[in-house]
Amino acid sequence: MLAELGQVTLVLALLLALLLAILPLWGSYNNNQQLQLLSRPLSYGVLGFIGLAFVLLTSAFISQDFSLQYVAQNSNSLLPVHYRISAVWGGHEGSLLLWCLVLAFWIAAVARFSNALPLQFLARVSAVLGMVAAAFLLFVLFTSNPFGRLLPMPVDGADLNPLLQDPGLIIHPPILYMGYVGMAVPFAFAIAALLGGRMETTWVRWCRPWTLSAWAFLTGGIALGSWWAYYELGWGGWWFWDPVENASFMPWLIGTALVHSLAVTEKRKVFQNWTLLLAITAFSLSLLGTFLVRSGALTSVHAFASDPTRGIFVLAMLGFFCGGALTLFALRAHTLKPESAIGLYSRETMLLLNNVFFAAATGMVLLGTLYPLLADALDLGKISVGPPYFGLLFTLLMVPVVLLIPLGPMTRWRQGDWSEIKAQARNMALAAAGLLLLLGLLLNPGGVRGWFGVAAGAWLMVGSGWYLLQHVRRQIGGLRRWQIGMAMAHFGVGVFVIGVSMVESGQIQKDLRMQVGDTATVGQHDYHFIASRNVQGPNYLAARGVFEVSRSGSDDIIAVMQPEKRRYAAGGSIMTDAAIDPGLTRDLYVALGEPLDDANPAQIWSVRIYTKPFVRWIWGGAILIVLGALLAASDRRYRKESVSVEQLARGRSAGATSSA
């Protein structure tokens, strides 16, 4: 009966979401304070009921209730408990419920932590979020009900896809959705601002911490996905330009542009229309991603069972939210204040350039992702765009960004001085050259690409340190959180760039035929294949190789690596579980291929051995970016009590030289 209860709680959540979408908005136009005040309890109510539905579905998984179709498709009696919990979001229906739950968290958080917002504005923000929640709950109830029963009840379930039976996959979707769905918050702020008509830029200040946190989660979610692909797909790559990766990458790119353009709009009141457009686009791209993943229009390793009705539904949502928002934008944008002029060598220009490059990169990825559809629709023949297109163009677009990152925060608002920028840049370049020399000696990058990457990384790291030094000297009362956060994030980009270029230029990959007892030398390490044995896992049988690794010319064993080849009991699918010995300066990676001798299958294997220099820096950089963004989002200036417009205006002209 619990499943039926889950069904009922979802319907109740939908009703509350509809009330949230209507009542506070109605109140905001009639000046009815009672109705506007309803936005808070209604928000909590939506969270409560969706949360309850989620708990009920989870309990069905834990108690192995195979009479639920969704449980039967995504679980199995042999599945360990922690994977039974993550299996809740292992398929389309449950992951959509998770999506709704995350949205409800954001809605409740906005309601709880927005005391500084004028009531009318909060009412409108909550109403827009209520509309989004209602749309997604309708989607769940009408096309993707996770509580559907299966008659007759099967004896056992079909099992969770083995690719998803992995710790990385337990946390990847929730974190990614926090970012993906979180883009609904700046969207709601932008719509509320447009509805308000009388456009002030105060909404931008309120919007910034939310946007930053959502963006931080999105960054973390994408990095986790890439980490998972690295060790679980058994292929050693960390980014594939797969349509579904692109689906999450596009909102990230636009989100990156948005967090920067919000800074300009808050500080200098320029680019207001542009910022609104970015906020609308970021969420629209989240919806577009949902469409791409769940409609079956594009094929991908991530694709859920495709169902065109779902596609139509998401397309309708996209039409309603994005189409409606852009129409509202066309109608209302002219009420914005006229833009003031910006100087050529100003921080505004720098941030504008950031926006141009990130918007162009988004357009490039969008075009590449949709190109197969476009070519097909226009009868240009059926073509798919491979990684070479993305890799080349993306690198080209990001080179100027990397060059400009350290200069941006150095440049003054309004009107900078070219000779001053030049002097600063020269000093930073000298310092970066020094660091490059040092890093070059330490890291020993192989090849031109490696050196360029390390140079770019040194430039970014020096730029972040330089910025902090300048401000420590200039400022009384120490650095602010947002300043440390920004420097940390930009430093993280440097770490990331070094990681990418080192691994791309210096990785060694060998595919070998190895018999038990053989020793292979790859890079600076010897791999001694000492044994091969069969192992029984909870729901799989595995062949496990045991390799002792030592530095060439030394007998000290630095790692024992045990790659596995697993056959899962239900469904019989085979998974490669690579063994990875992680390190700050290199990862060693051993994976078992195929048994090569049929007569003696356990003895002779094809073995793949990789040395991946500095691959951890890719995710290390991402972690720094996430922490930096969260630190900036937690800055005190966003937590001030309600600030009047006049105060803000005064503060703006006074602090115009120092802050972003």
Binding site: W235, S295, A297, A303, P308, G323, D376, K382
Partner: protein, 183 residues
């Protein structure tokens, strides 16, 4: 006003495209390809696994699967297990069409995951892929003894599709001769 309407108009164009994409996704299920029950496009391509060429004409007289794959395609890596199972079952030969791939990468992929194919042909610039209407890897075509396309699978071929769709179709083919010694 016109300038501000631009975003809406771009968005509407995008919606039309997405809707068309959805219709085509529908078609992928209903009428998988305009090639169904038509002769497969002629091809003659160099082999990856041996010297020489392999063409359309060499394959006449036996039914076979043509599996489009590439080392850059994560879906192919997922599908590899199923393709191996089909090839091992000996129901019919599986020909690999290595699609827009670097030879070294393709060889490494095969060494690592194993080579299930009876033969592999190389479509470096994707021209044969265009003739076949390939959306993207992986895709699998069932071609009968007369060289006629009988079935097309877009995306990963799973055990269920193999058992419920393709296998009955293969068994119903009128004149499935034994594989020729050429392979």
């Amino acid at each position: 006003m016109l300038k501000r309407l631009l975003p809406v108009m771009v968005f509407l164009a995008l919606c039309v495209l997405l809707f068309a994409g959805l219709r085509m996704a529908d078609d992928k299920d209903l009428i998988p390809s305009p090639l169904i029950n038509k002769p497969a496009p002629a091809y003659n391509l160099p082999r990856l696994d041996a010297d020489g060429m392999l063409g359309h004409a060499d394959m006449l007289g036996q039914a076979y699967l043509l599996n489009v794959w590439a080392s850059w395609c994560p879906g192919c890596r997922v599908e590899h297990e199923q393709i191996t199972r089909i090839a091992d079952s000996g129901v019919l030969p599986v020909i690999g069409l290595n699609y827009k791939d670097a030879e070294a990468d393709a060889q490494r992929w095969l060494n690592h995951f194993g080579n299930p194919y009876s033969a592999i042909i190389v479509d470096l610039n994707g021209k044969t892929g265009i003739d076949f209407g390939v959306y993207g890897a992986p895709e699998t075509f069932l071609i009968d003894a007369d060289g006629v396309v009988r079935y097309k699978q877009v995306g990963i071929l799973d055990q269920r599709t193999w058992e419920t769709e393709m296998l009955p179709l293969i068994q119903s083919l009128p004149d499935q001769r034994q594989p020729q010694p050429a392979l």
